[in-house]
Amino acid sequence: GAGVSQTPSNKVTEKGKYVELRCDPISGHTALYWYRQSLGQGPEFLIYFQGTGAADDSGLPNDRFFAVRPEGSVSTLKIQRTERGDSAVYLCASSLRADRLNTEAFFGQGTRLTVV
């Protein structure tokens, strides 16, 4: 597809379980961002990839959160031992490259994670 695709769109999991959220960015976009958004709030930065490497993971809340982008395209956000406080919409965005001329981020529709 032409846009950023996130799967699943909704995920309900039990407390303590492991979940994986997938992001398929726009083809050719080297920069990829993960954000977490609570209802009515602005997106909270989690991690940013430039190519395959995590250029900035300072937003990951703790070591239960991990993200990979092994081939510089699809990315997976992994959450271990989920807690109820992890419930939120997880947004993925990609941009052509994060430089002076190409800073527009294109967002997916998000994955709504509910931990019960």
Partner: protein
Amino acid sequence: TQLLEQSPQFLSIQEGENLTVYCNSSSVFSSLQWYRQEPGEGPVLLVTVVTGGEVKKLKRLTFQFGDARKDSSLHITAAQPGDTGLYLCAGFNFGNEKLTFGTGTRLTIIP
């Protein structure tokens, strides 16, 4: 940590009125973007401002970047129900290449 505070947090006005949304920070940004987000969707870019003091117009929307590149405003003239949504500012720095979002302003235009 770079923080972007938006005000007001909520705004509900009648169709046809004018409004201004503010985005303020103590940090300097290389550029600042404004996004609009509708329920169940990701944010969509409206505009990017790069130069201190820059003003950009998009139909009834006017965006301004502060001279010191720490703040921005969005002014909507003659608001319409289609303007309803969550408005987000986002600061970008070429040094760390991280896009930091503001706290958001939820705008409701009443027909």
